[in-house]
Symmetry: C2
Subunit: 315 residues, 2 copies
């Protein structure tokens, strides 16, 4: 099957216009701006060698939608750049494109265009996602104000444990759940509207809660304090803490959760929490932003705890 047949069979059905041109043309409605984000996922780095194609597809699209969510944007479409290795046969492509199709329906987003290439080395998936946001309303990292509370859209650490399960480094009675957290994160696109209405600053947690909350603080010219006792973990993650396999700080430094860290003015908190609850999401208030710089984690006595690793970094 040649490149054009392959695109025709597996990717044209996902697209807005059939992928007939060198590029696509996108109309942005009056009063809106385009939020644009890219994430590249490489075999052996962002997903294990031999990972099932549907998990690769889910993760590649969802991590991009998560970036749009953090900006308060509604997903519109995406460009799909594929570097496919010799393992990517027709059954691989069928499973990969089917998973994209499922997520397109779930998150109301379409394929706009892209490029399908072969590689002599590992698989690399590059997605550029585009979303709509009313003009001037995009949520940024640098908008936190002194006195804002730090809010987390869900629990962190599950993805780190899921990855360790994949690596056979840990066992858990909740293996299926934790693996799914790592492989198929839920981008918080449902929160986009209330983010625009109620949130000063946001980032999605790809590098780890401590690192990403730190990014908000730094971009906003503020300090961030996380109250360790306020951070609630999933039952599955708490069980791992209880047996001593991970510390709470380990889980707060683990990446890949794709929850949102947000800075919210105290007077907006109730509205935000009510909106989130309508989508079945129950955020946690875990700290605050204040004058100063840097990120501190404090214990129940208000004592700062040493942080030895802040999050995942390439290089």
């Amino acid at each position: 099957m040649n490149e054009f047949d392959l695109i025709e069979r597996y990717f044209a059905p996902l697209s807005m216009d059939g992928l007939k041109d060198d590029g696509a043309v996108l109309a942005v409605p009056e009063g809106f701006e385009l939020a644009v984000s890219s994430d590249v996922l490489n075999e052996g780095v962002h997903f294990p060698f031999g990972e099932a194609p549907h998990y690769i597809a889910h993760k590649a699209l969802r991590v991009n939608l998560s970036d749009l969510a953090s900006m308060g944007a509604k997903p519109l479409c995406y460009q799909l750049g594929l570097a496919l290795s010799s393992v990517c046969d027709e059954s691989w492509l069928a499973a990969f494109s089917k998973a994209l199709s499922e997520d397109q329906a779930l998150f109301d987003v379409k394929l706009l265009g892209g490029d399908t290439t072969s590689t002599k080395s590992g698989i690399s998936i590059s997605i550029t996602a585009m979303g709509l946001v009313p003009k001037g309303e995009a949520v940024k990292r640098g908008g936190a104000k002194d006195g804002d509370v730090l809010v987390l859209s869900g629990s962190v650490g599950n993805a780190l444990i899921g990855l360790d399960i994949l690596r056979d480094d840990v066992v858990s009675a909740d293996e299926a759940y934790l693996l799914e957290c790592y492989r198929k994160p839920t981008p918080r696109v449902a929160l986009a509207e209330t983010l625009r209405a109620n949130v000063h600053a946001a980032a999605d947690i790809s590098d780890g809660l401590i690192a990403d909350a730190g990014h908000i603080a730094k971009a906003s010219g503020l300090a961030c304090r996380i109250d360790l006792d306020a951070v609630e973990f999933s039952d599955a993650a708490q069980a791992q803490i209880d047996v001593g396999r991970y510390s709470a700080l380990d889980l707060m430094a683990g990446g890949d959760d794709y929850e949102l860290a947000m800075a919210i003015a105290p007077e907006k908190l109730d509205d935000f929490m009510s909106d989130a609850a309508l989508h079945g999401i129950h955020p946690q208030v875990i700290g605050c932003f204040e004058k100063g710089s840097g990120i501190t984690v404090v214990d129940g006595q208000g004592q700062a705890i040493a942080i030895d690793k802040a999050g995942w970094q390439h290089f």
Copy 2:
């Protein structure tokens, strides 16, 4: 140097807004649409292992700008997705980003955002380029009309010979020129305005003249005829034909030239040629579109010549 320092040092200076957020926000002026195109370049496939970083950068950006040019769009910005291997040290990144910076100035385009990742295998560069086009005026592949002439923005085959020189498969007195054609193609962005005014359909020649002219014909529901005697090659390429190293058809099937193939109504041809000449570009009229299907190359006697390879395909 960690991921954030690296972005701060080498890529933030190329960007519109400093790359501070999970994504970027792009305003599309009223009356315009966004043309979007992606190309992925993989080490060992689209450029040789060990290729100099500045050539990788030039090629990655320029092939994307070429797609925008074929749509009649003015380049605006691009997303840069990097999968970097262990060879990509600071000197590599300095040369890579410097080449991008030079091309940004040359083609009036800025970095919007992207993702910088590490890979355990070969380098992969994924760019999504965005350009502006007045609403409804984007040039497409499928717009050719019966009776249009087939016009080529420059000479083809140089890039194929350049690649063969890189592979030590061929020698040429014009080595420097031919290598440059392969490594640093000139996207025809200068033609965007006259394309919108005078061209029915266009495609950039990435897969080879015969293949890409065939794409226009197929998308337009027409046949395309190329007059072999009308196709002019560069002096460097003609010298290779003269010594019997390549046939004219070989060069018409070689990819990577990034000239434009265009369908133009005969009555618009003079205007188009005058506009092109203002930019120092001297297109060739090499054939026509007519009722029917498929692509034919005819000799000086009007006899069809058998085509055994139409162009480059992945897979």
